[in-house]
């Protein structure tokens, strides 16, 4: 499948869902053609994954236009779009998918942004426009355990993390097929 991952954050950003999107792309790229459309200056690279990053240091209106253009180009030949919520991607996604009507799966990666949207009419309207026909994924893998040099290696936690990713990939696969 040709997959487009849409995310407001991506490493070197550290906040969620940045590390999740990078890890997901790495794993999905083994079976699919993956493109990430995100914001950033010099994104961390993943082998066999195309990353389109729109510089966040541009003024708001310019970066939104640039994001719409990039998302349009990446999505027009895609089989499926998998998006994380967040105001900076919702408006471009609403515009692009209004015309292209690509199958859309989404995850509430940025819970505070979702909660904020519930309380504000305009933000809620944009969020609804972006995800009106999206399949929602609630399942998420656990955060990667840290290896701390002065403590025993967390082998059990790392194995659990790997298992949580396998479960997550299975449920994504199911949703991707059902869309």
């Amino acid at each position: 499948m040709r997959l487009v991952l849409v995310s407001p954050l991506y490493p070197p950003d550290v906040a969620w869902p940045a590390p999740y999107v990078k890890e997901l792309a790495k794993r999905l790229a083994k079976e699919h053609i993956v493109t990430i459309v995100t914001y950033g200056h010099l994104p961390e690279q993943v082998p066999d994954v195309k990353i389109i990053a729109i510089d966040k240091r541009r003024p708001l209106i310019l970066r939104l236009i640039a994001y719409v253009v990039a998302l349009w180009r990446a999505t027009r030949n895609a089989d499926l779009v998998y998006a994380q919520n967040g105001p900076s991607v919702e408006l471009p996604l609403a515009i692009v998918n209004f015309f292209l009507q690509r199958p859309l799966v989404m995850q509430w990666g940025d819970t505070p942004a979702h909660e904020y949207a519930q309380k504000h009419f305009s933000r809620r309207a944009i969020e609804r426009a972006a995800f009106a026909h999206a399949k929602v994924i609630t399942d998420a893998p656990s955060a990667k355990p840290e290896i701390l040099p002065l403590e025993p290696r967390p082998d059990a936690a790392l194995a659990e993390w790997e298992r949580s990713w396998n479960t997550h990939l299975q449920s994504l696969k199911k949703e991707f097929q059902n869309v």
């Binding site: 070197p12 906040a15 200056h41 966040k56 541009r58 290896i147 701390l148 403590e151």
Partner: protein
Amino acid sequence: MSKDAKQLWEGYKARELAVIKPILQKLGFELADEQPHLGGERYLMQAVTTQSGKKLILIGHRVSDGKKVVIKTAAEPAGKRELRHERRCRQVLKEIGFAYQVFFSPEEIIFTERDGRLISIQAFIEQEKTFLERPLKEQFDFALKAFKAQESAHATTYKHVRIIERTFGSMGADGYLHLGKTFNIDTAAREFLEKNKNTIDQYCGFLTHTDFVPHNFRIKDGTMYLLDHSSLRFGNKYEGWARFINFMELHNPPLAAALVQYVRDNRTQEELLALKCMRIYRLGEIIWYYRNTLPQSTGDLLKLNEARVHFWSEALKAVSNDREVPFATIESYKKTRDTLRSEDEKRRQVGLH
């Protein structure tokens, strides 16, 4: 020891103390008899990476209740600018809500201008023990928590960049490379930084404390208090790590090794490379700093500063070759340092780290 620099400092100190004492009395404060921040090599120090000005840092107490305080005072424009800048940094850090749950500031008691002098009085933070007296694991945990808090502040939006640049200042790869040339670091190191310019740039835009070492923070009841806010800026995420790890190569090598290992085990290869670049950059800076002190030094201090240039050059070689600084090099330098340090400086160092 340079008589000129020393005499100038002694003169400045005596004049300022004579003026500031009555002002402090009127404000309800008294100076302590022992003033650790006025002696030793204090006169030779100047920050090279942040705004720098002449100021006095004094210890005293509030007359009404005996509360111990730290008094910073400056009469010259550069010193005043630094105190104002530091205060503004504290305030903006609070306003933008970044990392403030980890870095606390000592309570501000007075910030005022009297007789042309800017006076900043803050509560003195008593700590149960110094950072280096804590167990290694505790040191590691505190350091990691502090670095993560800094990293959580990433200037990723236009609005943030404007607030941030106005207040803290920011530095990108071009700035680091430019300063690297100013520091006159050796050709191989400079070429290494130039070759990895993109990696340096990739991790820029993060909040970083350019002088994050134990004498700039205190820990009380598990809370970390930042004493110097003027060295905060937005720059490479690993600049603060680099300064701290380089410092620990001398003062606590197992902690330096543990922090490098943490980055190796948990971060990307690019990040490990960014850390190496920043360590090289900061080592270039410290060598440059001590080279600059040589013309102002004579006698034992000249010998000591030459030993410092040699030691940090050895550290630069080790880091460039992905090695730890040899134990023998560290021990030999420490021995030389302890022999050559003045009694005043030895007193100033007690309980500092």
